[in-house]
Symmetry: C2
Subunit: 201 residues, 2 copies
């Protein structure tokens, strides 16, 4: 796991420290998270943090990058790994709801609930946010296109339109979860939302 330079005095686990930093930023935001908060959660002292990550802003950008990694978004992974497309759409939504309310990390979505605040006033954030959004769109589109090739969706299925629809719906769940409101999760509601995603034009 941790690829430390062998042998030296027990170096801390950088991956683990970064994961801890994500949760702090996620809970308090970039400006709300102090170095004291961060070092306490990461289990290191500030000089180690600076040696490993540069400064607070770079740590923040690293946290965003780590969070945006391919396999870091459970809803996307659920969507991509479910064989039947109808079930995949439902899996995406269920995973979105579950994930946003999960107890082992703050509510909502790090990107949608927190990073968005710093877009435009912390350098490097806007580009990363854009990449995360368009990247998600593209992964959703990819799956739809694959299904079209397999004749599981009609040839005129508007993949990008529906991908964006899925993504946009997701943000509502995220905000409700952040506000500690129960998100709708009745089977009927989920079925309806899945139906409209896959509805013929």
């Amino acid at each position: 796991m941790a690829q430390n330079k062998i042998g030296r005095p027990r170096a801390f686990d950088k991956d683990q420290a970064l994961a801890a930093a994500i949760n702090v930023f996620w809970e308090k935001g970039f400006d709300g998270a102090s170095m004291k908060d961060l070092t306490a959660a990461m289990g290191i002292n500030s000089p180690s943090l600076y040696a490993a990550f540069g400064d607070k802003r770079q740590l923040y950008l690293d946290a965003i990058d780590r969070y945006s990694e391919d396999d870091s978004c459970p809803p996307l992974v659920a969507f991509e790994s479910e064989p039947a497309i109808e079930r995949a759409v439902i899996a995406f939504m269920k995973a979105t709801i579950d994930y946003a309310q999960q107890q082992d990390h703050p509510n909502g979505c790090f990107l949608g609930s927190c990073v968005s605040t710093t877009a435009g006033h912390v350098d490097g954030v806007t580009e990363r946010l854009q990449k995360a959004i368009t990247g998600t769109d593209e992964r959703l589109v990819l799956r739809f296109e694959q299904e079209k090739e397999r004749d599981n969706l009609p040839d005129d299925f508007p993949s990008l339109q529906r991908a964006r629809l899925m993504f946009d719906l997701r943000q509502g769940h995220v905000l409700r979860a952040r506000a500690e409101l129960d998100t709708i999760a009745t089977e009927a509601d989920l079925q309806f939302r899945a139906k409209i995603i896959l509805a013929p034009v």
Copy 2:
């Protein structure tokens, strides 16, 4: 407008100052906005701010309350004032997109893009966010119910389900706008989104 106690030395316009504070918080977030930023934008000195609003946190809560006032959300107002329900839904979406990208204030939505970050770590925010969300749901439901009474919508139309659908879609536009991404605004996409909102069960 400003209801100052008459005659005393030129008191600043509290409403106008609060409006300026909203934009600062909206752009930089609660923790990212310094008192210096705030007083500069509000055109007053800190003692005046403290006399009028208490402290930074109370000013923030006042800003949230002011922003959440009944007539402060253009998409909602558009939805409520358009006579035909089909056109009202489209007006809501168009207003959402326009508003989130408008140039006279920061991108996105103050509540959805910024306040959400402080939910859970600044006292008083979560309750206000909940009230704003459920309040919006209720206003959307109210209009749908009125249309049902006028037989413009079927009796079994699931008002709450569709209200939440509208609201959730909105958040996607808000996030994209915050990230300075163009949101979809083709007539076809809008038509489709309006269609699914009003679709029979």
